[in-house]
């Protein structure tokens, strides 16, 4: 597999209402430049929105910032975008977050962002520790069979 082009973007965004839309639009523009399909872009932007909301709503960070890095790579068999979303907050337990089921009839209806992120992206890894912040690294491929 030969990488033919790489585009990078870094953003630091304040944790204010609807800032996740700015992050999603930036990533969407990068993906369009790489020729990614609209359906893949929509899935990626929804995942980015959920990750930013999680950071804003739950991180409890003092600097009130979300740090984003996007790397888009065109390859011989398609393209991929790597997204890193970081906060400097309190960290969280991914297993506990995955266990939430906010369905009809449930007492708690919120907190399914992580499941959505994992469903919409091809790869997701989480680095988090108590008081040490959180980084979510996620990857979207234009082709599912990328190897």
């Amino acid at each position: 597999m030969t990488s033919t082009a790489e585009r990078q973007m870094e953003l630091t965004l304040p944790m204010v209402a609807d800032i996740e839309i700015a992050a999603a639009r930036a990533a969407g523009n990068l993906a369009r430049e790489l020729g990614m399909s609209s359906e893949k872009i929509d899935e990626m932007t929804h995942a980015i929105i959920e990750a930013c909301i999680n950071a804003r709503e739950h991180s409890g960070c003092e600097d009130n910032r979300i740090y984003l890095r996007f790397v888009g790579t065109s390859q011989g068999d398609g393209s991929r975008i790597d997204v890193w979303i970081t906060d400097h907050g309190r960290g969280f337990d991914p297993d506990e977050a995955r266990s939430r089921r906010p369905a009809v009839g449930a007492t708690h209806k919120r907190g399914r962002g992580l499941q959505l992120i994992e469903a919409h992206m091809d790869e997701v890894s989480i680095s988090t520790s108590s008081g040490g912040g959180t980084t979510i690294h996620m990857v979207k491929y234009e082709k599912k069979n990328h190897d």
Partner: protein
């Protein structure tokens, strides 16, 4: 940065259609809920949400949609959705909405099936 949601209502003989335009987040979800609850208070028991002009939803907005569905079920009514983008359709399935609300590809099909 704000992404204000707009909601339009079309009353039908046997229910109503809500048309959304914009981002369904916490604020947008509450706007839909306010309109839906007004209709429920007015004895509307069949509600179709047409999301043709909504391209983004988030999990907070969906949690509010689930609350609306719950209230309608408690009143013996039903809620359905139509004209979803593929990613919103997938998101609704992941979040379990598809288990409690019918989803239609087109408004015409929905109106016919729901008897609106």
């Amino acid at each position: 940065m704000t992404e204000e949601l707009r909601v339009a209502v079309d009353r039908k003989a046997n229910g109503a259609v809500l048309y959304t335009k914009g981002y369904i987040n916490n604020v947008g979800g509450e706007e839909i809920a306010n309109r839906a609850y007004e209709l429920m208070d007015d004895n509307v028991r069949t509600l179709l949400l047409n999301l043709r002009d909504t391209k983004i939803v988030n999990s907070i907005g969906i949690s509010i949609l689930i609350e609306i569905i719950e209230k309608m079920i408690d009143k013996g009514g039903s809620i359905a959705f139509c004209c979803l983008t593929p990613v919103i359709h997938k998101t609704f399935q992941i979040m379990g909405l598809a288990n409690y609300a019918k989803i239609f590809d087109s408004e015409d099909t929905a109106l016919k099936e729901l008897g609106l």
